[in-house]
Every structure is written in structure tokens, then in C-alpha cells.
Symmetry: C2
Subunit: 237 residues, 2 copies
């Protein structure tokens, strides 16, 4: 099969669309992420390589391949997968481990990192409220290290979380230094500047992570790492 060099090629256009507007399909970049996804049972809709290096993939010239990505990390494989669709109601009703709720977490790297943490610590899913970065953008998918396929993620309104009946907890520096919930609950993390919005905060038990007075706050992904790891540790005992 010949190596594709043209930007008019349909595979190029399809991949570019998935990277720019991941509405239908999402792109996983890098051998490890793509192969892990395939090993986990996901069927790639399209595999594209930098140069002709594998038979099951469409080969682009290095120039064409490099035109696709905004990352400086050299990759030689991109896989296109159907964008997963999950229902926020299903996630909120799944009733086992805590549901992670993100409130205006704008940085796609943080959103992706927290999705990876939700997979690592076996959460029921991730709910994105108003003002969050797109979980399927290339930056978020990259930060999730492939976990975007392993964790149910959906957008919802704060009202849906409030109406779910789940006990509500929020990471907040003014809270009590208590353990996070181990099971059925919603655990809300807010933006680094604004914190959790009042609508949710007023209905929630606020949890503070004990720390020294040398910093004022933690990065939201660091807070999530600490509380989700702790929730998983308690669940296991």
C-alpha cells in the first residue's frame, strides 16, 4: 500500500477532524496508548503510522503525520476510536464506588489526569459540570493515558448531581480533615481559582486535606489523587 502524502486524503481529514472536534471519533496518540486500548478490547476505526511500519495501518509520510499533532513528544502511531457515550444518570445511579464530579476544571491536562485517577482508584465515573475542559480533546486524552476509554465520563448539570440522592462531598480548604467517602457518593472537585461552586458546596460535606501552612492550596489533580487513593484504600479494608 502506498504511503500517503496528501492533505486531501480522506484518512488525513478524518483524523484531523477527530483531533480538532472529537464529536464522533477520538484519537489516541502513541504506540502504548493505542496498543493498550486494543488489548482492552477496543476496536480502532483507523490506525495511522508515521511511515510504512505496520500492515494493519495506513501509512502517512513523516511530514503529513507530523502535521497532525501539536505535541512535541515524537509518536509514530495514532489510533482512531469511536467516542464513548455515557449517560450521566447511569453513572450517578451506578451505586458502588464514588462518582467524581468536576466543577469548572478548565485545564484539559487536569481533566485527563483525574480521569486516569478515577480508573486507577476504581471510581464509578466522572461527571463534568459547566466550565470543564472537553475530556476528549487531544490534551485530555493524552493526560488520561488511555483511561478515557476505561472510565464512564459524561456532562451534566449541578442539579442532576444534587437530585441524584448521593451523599455529596466536596474538596475544600475550609472543610474538616476527614476521610473521603469509600462508596456510593459524589465527590466534587472545583477549579483551582474558584473552588467548588456554592450551589454544590452548600449541600456537601467539605473535606480538607491536612497540609502545612507553607502553601495555600494544591493543584486540583493532586487533591484528586490524594482523596481518590484514600477512598480506594479504605474501600479495600
Amino acid at each position: 500500500m502506498k504511503t500517503i502524502a496528501s492533505r486531501h486524503n480522506p484518512s488525513f481529514k478524518r483524523l484531523r477532524e477527530a483531533l480538532r472536534r472529537p464529536e464522533q471519533e477520538i484519537a489516541l496518540e502513541g504506540r502504548k496508548q493505542v496498543e493498550d486500548a486494543i488489548a482492552a478490547g477496543w476496536k480502532p476505526a483507523l490506525l495511522v503510522t508515521r511511515g510504512p511500519i505496520r500492515e494493519d495501518a495506513v501509512a502517512f509520510t513523516p511530514e503529513l503525520f507530523d502535521a497532525l499533532s501539536d505535541t512535541s513528544t515524537p509518536q509514530d502511531l495514532i489510533g482512531l476510536f469511536l467516542r464513548p457515550r455515557h449517560d450521566a444518570g447511569d453513572i450517578l445511579r451506578s451505586g458502588r464506588a464514588p462518582v467524581v464530579v468536576l466543577d469548572a476544571v478548565q485545564d484539559p491536562g487536569n481533566v485527563g489526569t483525574i480521569i486516569r485517577l478515577a480508573a486507577a482508584f476504581d471510581c464509578a465515573g466522572v461527571i463534568l459540570l459547566h466550565g470543564c475542559a472537553d475530556a476528549y480533546s487531544p490534551k485530555a486524552v493524552r493526560a488520561s493515558a488511555g483511561a478515557i476509554l476505561a472510565v464512564p465520563v459524561a456532562q451534566a448539570r449541578a442539579r442532576a448531581v444534587l437530585d441524584s440522592g448521593l451523599p455529596l462531598f466536596a474538596a475544600d480548604a475550609r472543610g474538616a480533615p476527614i476521610d473521603p467517602p469509600a462508596r456510593e457518593a459524589a465527590l466534587v472537585f472545583g477549579s483551582e481559582g474558584g473552588g467548588v461552586s456554592n450551589e454544590l458546596l452548600l449541600a456537601a460535606t467539605a473535606i480538607r486535606i491536612p497540609m502545612s501552612g507553607r502553601v495555600e492550596s494544591l493543584n486540583v489533580a493532586a487533591s484528586a489523587a490524594i482523596l481518590l487513593a484514600r477512598s480506594f484504600a479504605i474501600r479495600g479494608t
Copy 2:
């Protein structure tokens, strides 16, 4: 005082040097970081604003100011501070909370985030081994959220850590699911791809963070968040 528009202005050159090669002075970007540093007792060597907005600062035109930064986050204040100098031996001998040791952590965002965590959880300092990103680069300083001034950071060889006599622990997926050390110890985190190098790993007690089988590993800053928070929590009890 007039607003400076020229790239030949000495303040512009000095600030650009601190952003490109932070050997003598380091730049803190943003009102919050600069004002927190001043409140903590640090004396800025130079303050520069985007337009004439405060009397104690040199005003640049917005065009000149924007030419300095590679971040997309709009800021209007940069402060220049003397680069802190710490001795690795002093950090390793400080004998109280654990010392964080980073082994080939290449991403400046991760290095900065871990420095912020070391401040939050009151570690004795951060030792950077071969292959780590520069802790004083603008990206790392930004991720540290000002903590770069609050935590002793120094470069060292692995040999210095081994010879310090400190009990050695390493974050490693093949380790035991035990608590991290609460006091005098060195806690090593490796690169996401390569992990902790064998030279240190062989001399260390490996600690695994318990997690589900849904992901293979965590981001190094997430691992650090979990273990350092836990170390701080145990220390307090």
C-alpha cells in the same frame, strides 16, 4: 515614569535572561505568586507590569510585556527574585521530614508540581538527580505556584543519596503496599517511562500504591501527591 516599549531596555533584557536561563535570577509570573512571595519575606529584585499599574514596578507596554511570556494565561505582573541556592548535603542531613528525590523526571510541570507538594506536606527538600527538568525554568516555577521559594531544592548525584545514610524508599509498582516513611528518609520517584534507576532501586524499599487493575501506572506527580500526603498524615498522628 514612562512606559517602556523597547527590547533594548535593560530591564527587558534582564527579565528575558531570567526566563531563558534562570541561572542568577528567576521570574515569578502573576500577581498572586509575586505577592505571596513578597508577603513571605522575599524581596523582588525587579517588578514589571503590563502597562503603568503600580508605582513600585517598571511599566512595559502590553506588546513588550506579552513578548516575554510563553504562557497563554494572561498575567500583568512579573517579579524577578534572586535564585535560591541550596546545598544537597544540607538537605540530606536536615534530618526531619522525608527528602524527596527525583530521578530523571523530565517534565518541568511535574517537577514544579512535586516541589509544591513537598512544601504542602512539609518535606525537608527536593533533590534532583541526573535527567530532571530545571526546577527554575518558567514552566516549573509556574507549576510550583511559588513554592520554589519555600522549599530547598538542589541537584545531586545518586551516590550522594546512597551515601547519606538515610533509609531509602522508592515508589515502584513492584513494591509492597506499605505506608511511606513519615520522618528522616529519602523517598525516590522515577520517570514515568523508566521508573527509578536500578542503582537506587536495589538499595531501596519499594512502595506500591494500591490501585485497581484498570490502569498500569500513575503520573509521577499523582504518585508523589498520594505518598507525600500520607507521610504527612502519619507524621501528625
